[in-house]
């Protein structure tokens, strides 16, 4: 159990703390929660955030605690007052005098009892083992060790307070039990916070560790709450508390409904625990709710798999789409295709490097700048390959395959010679970092952007092929080269530009892939077989086939993974494709026709 980070960011907690006579309320809340927890017995699959407590220390003072807790919580809302730092400092100073864990815990509880969010900083520091006192004057500081010295900061404000030799300080010791107390104390501080997120966090905590005594406090909070989303959370917390209270059955049934409506894993574990101890109609209702939530959660799990699959599919689509043009339209097997992707990724690296050293402010624009450059770089290399090698090999696909493999070796070694064999650091711009939750789905921004980007590239390409005169020429050349040529289309140039287009698209795929993969000379090799599989599976010469192929292979892969493991899943997909090609040698969306070959 190492979780120590407080749920709300320090600054937001500090601004205007509610304050009242909450003496020891948090602490008592804690022991009550422990007791409930032990009784409810949370199932093991719930995230191990709060852990399972030994059932030994359930308080004998329960009834007294009830009243006390009730009153103190009421007090929180009834009479908010502001404590200044001056009131807290003497309590903090007591840490220096605490000689054992028990004494330290008493101080922690006293601090928590002030209900002032400002105590969060010293408590968090204490849990991290970063709280020290000076031997000479017993002044308490947050300290960070730096070799022999120690960097000091004020325990309340966090202002730096210089550096002093380590030997002059004593670390205030903590053990695991103490860390738990601290963490729980921090969690209970925030139900009345003016910050909506902090209130939500508090409600979530109460939801997960329900106590009947919370109901009144929650009722009061619900009555006062104006923000809809927070209110919902508070009501859910109330429902979970109702379940463990002595309220009448119909209230509990309503509570089960509400909890079932939450649908999260926490709600499921709450209800599963409740179901075990319930009787009669309540048990039935809980069982029904658990069953429906289980199936909902299974749906969410599938949805998450679909999302992972779509994400993988978008990567495959990006890697394969350029190939779909060179292979599908021109019949050229470009084994150097992966290296075009790699060139795009290295272009991104170079662009970011220049931005970092010369224009740091533009970093968020680095990808936008890299995109056209990568297209040009890879496209130019592609053009050179077509003019220099491939045009002599048309009609000999196997030889083209070998020659372009040679090109890929040369490009790899060239990049290795210039940039070195190791991975290069390509950063995520801020708008591509982080993640968000959607229901029970967790979605990272960079994956979402790449999905959007791959679709954008796909439809742009489709537009170019279907709606521009260049696309028309390309299709004309594909359909009947001699005819196109005699209509005045310069077929060699169409070939060259088509190949350059395919390569350029590989280049911009490289920009996107640099965000999720290691940028190394081997980057391209990892994609070449997969991209060929996508194109062949989808049906050569059909862009829609590539789209469907990429996403279905992505999703298939991710659905196999949980059963077979990542590597075996991939092997299975390869085997399935090999078998599929046997069945439909021309892919999913193959054109039928009287084959020209005799």
């Amino acid at each position: 159990m190492t979780e120590s980070a407080p749920r709300c960011p320090p600054l937001s907690c500090r601004t205007s703390p509610p304050q009242g006579g909450r003496s020891a309320a948090s602490t008592l809340l804690l022991s009550w929660q422990r007791w409930r927890l032990a009784k409810v017995g949370r199932p093991a699959q719930s995230p191990p955030k709060w852990g399972r407590w030994p059932a030994g220390q359930r308080g004998a003072r329960q009834s007294a605690v009830f009243a006390f807790l009730f009153l103190s919580l009421l007090g929180v809302f009834a009479s908010p007052a502001h404590a200044d730092e001056a009131a807290l400092r003497p309590i903090i100073a007591k840490f220096a005098a605490a000689k054992n864990f028990k004494a330290t815990e008493a101080v922690v509880q006293e601090l928590a009892a002030t209900g002032d969010p400002a105590v969060e900083r010293p408590l968090a520091a204490l849990a991290e083992g970063d709280l020290y006192f000076r031997k000479s004057d017993s002044a308490v500081f947050i300290g960070r060790e730096a070799r022999q010295a120690i960097k000091l900061a004020d325990p309340l404000t966090g202002e730096e307070a210089g550096e002093e030799p380590k030997a002059a300080f004593t670390k205030i010791k903590v053990n695991n039990a103490l860390r738990r107390s601290i963490r729980d104390a921090l969690g209970g501080l925030t139900l009345g916070s003016p910050d909506a997120n902090a209130r939500i966090a508090a409600a979530d905590t109460m939801f997960k560790t329900p106590v009947a005594a919370n109901i009144e406090a929650l009722d009061a909070a619900i009555a006062k709450e104006t923000v809809g989303s927070v209110k919902l959370k508070l009501e859910q917390a109330r429902a979970s508390s109702v379940l463990v209270s002595d309220l009448p059955e119909d209230e509990k049934l309503a509570a089960i409904d509400i909890i079932a409506g939450v649908g999260s894993r926490d709600a499921l574990s709450l209800l599963t625990g409740y179901e075990a101890g319930a009787e009669g109609a309540l048990k039935d209702a809980a069982s029904a709710a658990v069953a429906s939530m289980n199936s909902t959660l299974a749906l969410w799990a599938s949805a998450q798999n679909v999302w992972y699959g779509l994400s993988l599919g978008s990567v495959l689509l990006l890697a394969a789409i350029g190939l779909a043009i060179t292979f599908g339209v021109m019949g050229v097997i470009n084994m150097a295709h992966g290296e075009m992707v790699m060139l795009g990724a290295y272009t991104t690296f170079v662009v970011q490097n220049i931005i970092r050293t010369s224009f740091p402010g533009l970093f968020d624009w680095s990808l936008a700048i890299a995109l056209p450059l990568a297209f040009l770089v890879a496209g130019a290399v592609g053009l050179a390959i077509e003019r220099g090698i491939i045009r002599f090999l048309y009609g000999r696909p196997l030889e083209t395959l070998l020659a372009t493999w040679g090109v890929s070796l040369i490009l790899q070694q060239a990049v290795r010679s210039i940039f070195g064999p190791t991975n290069r650091e390509v950063g995520n711009p801020s708008w591509m970092s982080g993640a968000f939750d959607m229901g029970e789905l967790s979605v990272t921004w960079n994956r979402l952007w790449i999905l959007a980007f791959s679709l954008a590239v796909f439809f742009l390409l489709l537009f170019v092929m279907k709606r521009t005169s260049w696309g028309l020429q390309m299709r004309a050349v594909t359909a009947n080269r001699r005819m196109a040529s005699s209509m005045g289309i310069r077929t060699p140039w169409v070939d060259a530009l088509t190949f350059a287009l395919g390569s350029g698209i590989a280049g911009i795929a490289g920009v996107a892939l640099s965000q999720i993969d290691n940028v190394s000379p081997n980057l391209g090799q990892g994609y070449i077989i997969d991209s060929f599989m996508v194109v062949v599976f989808g049906g050569v010469g059909n862009l829609w086939g590539t789209l469907v192929g990429a996403f279905s292979l992505g999703v298939l892969n991710k659905f196999l993974e949980p059963y077979a493991g990542a590597v075996l899943g991939k092997i299975l997909v390869l085997v399935l494709i090999i078998l599929f090609i046997q069945k439909r040698p021309r892919g999913l969306f193959a054109l039928k026709g009287r084959a020209v070959e005799a």
Partner: protein, 248 residues
């Protein structure tokens, strides 16, 4: 009608490629020992019909029976070839890196599995047949020439020679005189009539002189179906045929 009489029997055969109906309820009956000329404008479905008979294309619907009860739609190219249907392609297709003689060796009827081929030794009978065919197709002096180095007309003859070596019951001959001189055309017509003494033959040809030379029953295909059937004179005087060939 009994299915055991004719050598080839097609009834209500249709096949479509991506919505385009290449063959549309085609029915055709070829009697044993008959030679039939098939004409028709481009895209009438002549080659597709041959593809269906030789097992290259599966029809979407319809019946195809060979030599009585054999349902050709259930067999693939090699099986059909072994049953005795030989095919000459529109574009002459011979093994260009082999000599004329080796082309014939590979075509001679006989066992078609791997191990006999591995341990094959040419018998006197085979040598005699090869000599015969070389004589008939007038390729005697080209015996050791690579097929790639033959003229277009010679390749056509070599392919016909390969058909002879195969000794099938039914020959499908696609445009045998394309690229031939008039003399060669006449020669080919005589050769085909010769072959017809012992074999059933279907000839697809555009060259009306050649068809007239053959003097056999003619079937005109259009848009995948039979437009007209009869003697050449009858067919060529058919108004619908004239419409198709000359436009409205």
């Amino acid at each position: 009608m009994s299915k055991s009489g004719p050598i080839l029997y097609l009834d209500g055969v249709s096949v479509a490629f991506d919505g385009f109906r290449a063959i549309n309820k085609l029915s055709l009956v070829l009697d044993r020992g008959e030679m039939r000329a098939i004409i028709g404008p481009n895209g009438a479905g002549k080659t597709t019909m041959m593809d269906i008979v030789t097992g290259k294309t599966r029809p979407d619907e319809g019946e195809v029976f060979f030599d009585g009860q054999v349902d050709l739609t259930r067999h693939d190219e090699a099986e059909i070839a072994m049953m005795g249907i030989g095919r000459k392609f529109q574009k002459p297709t011979v093994f260009e890196s082999h000599t004329v003689e080796d082309n014939l060796v590979l075509s001679l009827n006989g066992p078609r599995s791997i191990f006999p081929a591995l341990f094959h030794r040419r018998s006197a009978e085979e040598a005699r047949r090869i000599d015969d065919i070389l004589g008939v197709t007038r390729l005697g002096d080209k015996r050791s020439t690579l097929a790639a180095n033959l003229s277009h007309g010679q390749k056509q003859w070599l392919e016909i020679g390969m058909l002879l070596a195969q000794d099938p019951k039914l020959l499908l001959v696609d445009e045998p005189v394309a690229g031939m001189t008039d003399a060669e055309t006449e020669e080919t017509a005589r050769l085909l009539k010769d072959i017809n003494q012992t074999h059933s033959v279907i000839v697809v040809e555009h060259d009306m002189h050649f068809v007239r030379e053959l003097g056999v029953k003619v079937t005109c295909l259009h848009e995948g179906a039979v437009l007209s059937e009869g003697t050449l004179d009858f067919v060529s005087s058919d108004e619908r045929v004239m419409e198709v060939y000359l436009g409205r």
